[in-house]
């Protein structure tokens, strides 16, 4: 699992989407993150660890390559805009929500 900086993560994510156009699926996972870097031991307590509230972990994979990044509340605005644009631009293989049936790409999968 590769942990990347925000910018790099977005670049890699774009690349992953492009690779997946022909076949395969893209999985993006979002989870709240409290900043821990060590696993919690079964006995005893974790020393010197203060859980932080304002972060989340984003992972992406195309089945082969895995990337991840951590987003905190300060970055979330910028990251969210970039991410939304990227998702909307990449996930364009779906039907439009029109009543008229516009079949741009051949999606006759039945």
């Amino acid at each position: 699992m590769v942990l990347l900086e925000r910018e790099q993560f977005l670049t890699e994510l774009t690349r992953l989407f492009q690779k997946c156009q022909l076949s395969g699926s893209m999985c993006i996972t979002l989870k709240k993150y409290d900043g821990r870097t060590k696993p919690i031991p079964r006995k005893g307590s974790v020393e010197g660890f203060e859980p932080s509230e304002n972060k989340c972990l984003l992972r992406a994979t195309d089945g082969k390559k895995k990337i991840s990044t951590v987003v905190s509340s300060k970055e979330v605005n910028m990251f969210q805009m970039a991410c939304s644009n990227l998702l909307r631009a990449s996930m364009d293989g779906l039907k439009k929500r029109d009543k008229k049936s516009k079949t741009k790409k051949s999606k006759a999968v039945q």
């Binding site: 022909l22 996972t29 409290d34 304002n54 969210q80 998702l87 996930m91 779906l94």
Partner: protein
């Protein structure tokens, strides 16, 4: 593993699940260009809610952003559903 047919029910249930236990809940988005399908799953390892579609990219992506904001918010407050 309940599959939801309507977006409203799914988003309500998913948001509730995220608010109940933010640390346990996770959101998974699965996109298949070849099939033209998008699937969003919200789970806390006990309950799993799934919604599949081939259309509502905007709604799902907006909801995904909402949940992201929820997770990075410091105070625990309920996010009002923004209806545009």
């Amino acid at each position: 593993m309940p599959q939801y047919q309507t977006w409203e029910e799914f988003s309500r249930a998913a948001e509730k699940l995220c608010l109940t236990d933010p640390m346990k809940a996770r959101v998974v988005l699965k996109y298949r260009h070849s099939d033209g399908s998008l699937c969003i799953k919200v789970t806390d390892d006990l309950v799993c809610l799934v919604y599949r579609t081939d259309q509502d990219v905007k709604k799902i992506e907006k909801f995904h952003s909402q949940l992201m904001r929820l997770m990075v918010a410091k105070e625990s407050r309920s996010v009002a559903m923004e209806t545009d």
